[in-house]
């Protein structure tokens, strides 16, 4: 029926394949539509792209440098290459660079992509600078292990403009010395933090962890393969947030919410996120 508004489609070429995506979609959306898998680190489906990790770069005909697929809007007629030598090289180098300075042992997806692109973090000068940060254990809800931080800004965005509007953390410092920090690195308790845990939910490297997970890992007893996930609805208020209770040995060990849930978009408050001890 002609009266039904249709979305304007934009057609672009991804690795020789024509893909139509709605206007406003990104190159990454087009890659997804074309069935081309793309590594991402700082991109999150619920977050505004900040395009800082550069692992999702693609080669765009007519562009001198590679472009970040997560943030670049698809435009009619674009010709994109996701597996050219230049793209493979930059993706490999980003993964290699991160592995030289950061503990990525708990970032499974990163590790898989690093293998895929042949990243070799051992070929650098021995004794090079690393994050070198102590684990910050300041309460019983979550810990911050900045040795594992890749500075993807996801926690900052989730704490700030994209979800919580609390602005308890920011990037501080500059260059290799940049760190996620509260003002003057005060404890979370003294900061604006409201313990919603939305930063934990978006962290791609486990630099932010539930204290329960941290303790189990310390005891060498963290067994994701033995965990079950139970879907339920939070019982605290009437909003109706979906909860995913992760259970190991009949104990809840962490709580998440689905990114694609209409109400939460993956976000919760302190009660839903951490208030399950009564169960």
């Amino acid at each position: 029926m002609s009266s039904v508004a249709t979305e304007t489609a934009v057609t672009i070429q991804v690795d020789g394949q024509e893909v139509a995506v709605p206007e406003g979609a990104t190159i990454l959306d087009a890659c997804d539509a074309a069935g081309v898998e793309t590594p991402t680190i700082c991109y999150g489906p619920t977050l505004t792209p900040v395009n800082v990790c550069r692992v999702c770069v693609v080669e765009l005909d007519g562009s001198r440098a590679l472009v970040p697929s997560c943030s670049r809007p698809a435009e009619e007629g674009m010709v994109v290459h996701t597996d050219s030598e230049r793209v493979r090289h930059s993706r490999k180098m980003v993964l290699e660079f991160l592995a030289t300075g950061v503990d990525v042992s708990q970032a499974d997806e990163l590790g898989q992509w690093a293998d895929h692109y042949g990243a070799d973090p051992d070929r650098y000068v021995p004794g090079g600078q690393t994050m070198d940060e102590p684990v910050r254990v300041q309460d019983n809800l979550y810990i911050r292990d900045y040795d594992k931080c890749v500075l993807c800004y996801r926690c900052v965005e989730a704490c700030g403009d994209d979800a919580q509007h609390t602005y308890a953390i920011s990037v501080a410092g500059r260059g290799f010395g940049a760190r996620i920090s509260t003002e003057f690195d005060v404890t979370l308790h003294d900061s604006a933090c409201v313990y919603c845990g939305n930063c934990v939910a978006v962290c791609p490297t486990n630099a932010l962890q539930f204290k329960t997970e941290f303790d189990l890992r310390q005891a060498d007893d963290w067994r994701p393969e033995d965990q079950t996930v139970t879907q339920t609805v939070c019982s605290y208020c009437g909003v109706g947030c979906n909860l995913e209770l992760h259970v190991q040995d009949n104990q809840i060990v962490k709580c998440t919410s689905p990114d694609d849930h209409d109400v939460t978009k993956g976000n919760l408050c302190i009660k839903g996120r951490f208030g399950w001890n009564y169960v």
Binding site: P68, R86, G128, E183
Partner: protein, 592 residues
């Protein structure tokens, strides 16, 4: 001030227990009086403030931090809380901004002495900065190593950051200003430098000042922009973007909330041209910005100037005040019926803030991190509004183009690089200083004009740390955009640093790598980690005393390619350029 698009009006700001001292409060009040506070605290945690009011004030964050630094000597937790509360900025974000800048301290120095910044970049290293450090320290000075301070023609350079006293540059006091080419009738950009009294509007008018603005108003916007386009004027900061296209794009955007920004944040090691121009011909910067404002239909003008340039800042501020008093800035510029006025903003020590989008973020009160492009500044610039950003050298060229027309302008230079170019000569050269020559002058002719190399010429660094080394075989290279590009070199911001065969080039290149490591904003992975690892490879090479191993050479190339291809901005794109050219020329890496 137009609204910011980031940040949220319902932010529940939380401040810790630290309160500003009386002195800190006074430093904050001096920039933002209590009556203008962004927010009203109604209970302990509930903060009410209109969206626009809070967004109106964030651009004052850097000035408030400057004020605290200057009065107190550092930014304490109480001072930061006071500033953040007054402006309605979350304290974590204010801390993120404060820790971004070299000239702002967030740890207690334990003293209230002035800090003497000593340049450690190549020109000053060649001029004996280590001896100077030793003698300063013997006198009890608090010496702080600094990247290039933009005084390479009078190296070694110092900048004294005052606590409770004005910042100053010691050589400003003693220097009897000297322009090597003074009196040369072929000068265009530098014609008035050293001739005009930079503190007097009348003197500027006596030297032809404000004739171009009157002519531009007669011509009208379209004709001015057409003349700029026909002249072939291109940006003098390094990217060489056609100025006419930039202005046309901004003029075509709906106004009047559009901006003209003069980028006086030159921080490329070896660059000092905009400092000299702003110090000695500030009205020319103001007049040409005003022409840009009227031509593009922009109401707002901004000058973003290096924090290390106190004299240029004072002279620009004085020039603005005089121009405003004479009706040459304000609600009706020179009877044109158009509004245009200018605010000056000081940087606080960050090379990256010379990158245009980082500069916008810095003015807006955010960390000076570059934005991904597109969108470009002509549509989404300062405050996400259309913005024409040019550096002073580019802007001053506009005056002659408006007066004489594009054909006269094109009578010097080459077809593809019309006009003249400023070059900053330093290092092992007879008469270091600022020179203006037509595009197409060869490198050898330029060196001869400056008295020739003082020793056996080994290499020349063209374009600064972001540029490339060339050898003596490049002396015949015409200095044009097209010839340097063809040779794989660059004019960059006009840096010509000369090295003779006695200079330890490994030390120079290690320092260049260290410069990029220090100045990377840290936002994107290729640059944040790449500049760090590149420096580590070069330090290893220097310590080894052996030739560069093939696997290390490959690593340098691999890192360089990723930085060029995948970094967000020009800093990462150029961070390996000088290093690789030094290796290719055999200046380093050959020890046996």
């Amino acid at each position: 001030m137009p609204p910011r698009l980031r940040g949220h009006p319902l932010a529940d700001l939380h401040f810790g227990d630290d309160q500003p001292t009386e002195a800190e409060q006074a430093a904050i009040d001096a920039i933002v009086p209590p009556a203008d506070a962004a927010t009203v605290v109604e209970t302990e945690r509930i903060v009410r403030g209109g969206r626009s009011r809070r967004h109106d004030l964030r651009h004052l964050l850097l000035p408030v931090l400057h004020s605290l630094q200057h009065e107190i000597g550092w930014i304490s937790p109480g001072g930061l809380n006071g500033a953040a509360e007054r402006l309605g900025v979350p304290p974590a974000e204010a801390y993120g901004v404060a820790t971004f800048y070299e000239l702002l301290r967030t740890t207690d120095p334990g003293h209230r002495d002035d800090v003497v910044h000593l340049c450690v970049d190549p020109a000053c290293a060649m001029a004996g900065n280590n001896d100077l450090r030793t003698s300063l320290e013997a006198e009890g000075a608090r010496v702080h190593d600094s990247p290039c301070l933009g005084q390479c023609e009078r190296a070694p350079a110092l900048f004294v950051q005052g606590v409770g006293r004005p910042d100053r540059v010691p050589s400003d006091d003693e220097e009897d200003f000297h322009l090597p080419q003074a009196g040369d009738p072929s000068l265009r950009v530098l014609r008035r430098v050293g001739e005009v009294d930079p503190t007097s509007l009348d003197s500027y008018r006596d030297h032809g000042g404000y004739e171009a603005l009157a002519r531009a108003i007669e011509m009208g916007s379209d004709a001015v922009i057409a003349a700029i386009s026909d002249s072939g004027l291109s940006g003098r900061g390094g990217a060489a973007f056609p100025t006419g296209i930039k202005w046309r794009a901004v003029a075509d955007e709906p106004g009047p909330d559009k901006h003209v920004v003069a980028n006086c944040d030159e921080s490329e090691p070896g660059t000092f041209k905009d400092r000299i121009v702003c110090e000695h011909d500030p009205f020319a910067v103001i007049e040409s910005m005003t022409i840009a404002g009227l031509a593009t239909g922009s109401s707002h003008g901004w000058i973003y100037i290096r924090g290390e340039y106190p004299r240029a800042t004072a002279r620009l501020e004085s020039a603005i005040a005089q121009a405003r008093a004479a009706g040459l800035l304000g609600d009706d510029v020179a009877g044109s019926g158009q509004r245009f006025d200018i605010e000056v903003r000081r940087g606080a020590g960050a090379y990256i803030c010379g990158e245009e989008t980082a500069l916008f973020n810095s003015i807006e009160g955010f960390r000076g991190e570059p934005r991904n492009k597109p969108p470009f500044p002509t549509t989404h610039g300062l405050f996400s509004q259309p913005t024409a950003i040019n550096n002073p050298e580019t802007l001053i060229n506009v005056l002659d183009i408006v007066i004489e027309g594009p054909n006269a302008y094109r009578s010097v230079g080459t077809e593809r690089s019309p006009g003249t170019r400023l070059f900053c000569l330093s290092g092992r050269i007879g008469v270091p200083g600022l020179y203006e020559v037509p595009f197409g002058t060869t490198l050898g002719e330029l060196l001869d004009l400056a008295g020739g190399p003082t020793g056996e010429l080994a290499s020349v660094l063209l374009g600064g740390a972001a540029g490339v080394f060339v050898g003596p075989d490049a002396l015949d290279m015409p200095l044009t955009l097209e010839d340097t590009r063809e040779a794989g070199a660059t004019l960059g911001s006009g840096v010509v640093t000369v090295f003779d065969d006695t200079v330890d080039m490994e030390a120079v290149v290690v320092r260049i790598a260290e410069f990029f490591r220090d100045e990377s904003c840290g936002q994107c992975v290729p640059c944040r980690v790449g500049t760090q690892r590149q420096h580590e490879v070069l330090v290893e090479l220097q310590a080894s005393g052996r030739p560069l191993a093939p696997e290390r050479s490959e690593l340098i190339d691999d890192m360089a390619l990723a930085m060029v291809d995948a970094s967000i901005c020009g800093l990462g794109h150029t961070a390996a350029s000088a290093v690789r050219s030094a290796l290719a020329l055999g200046l380093i890496g050959n020890s046996s």
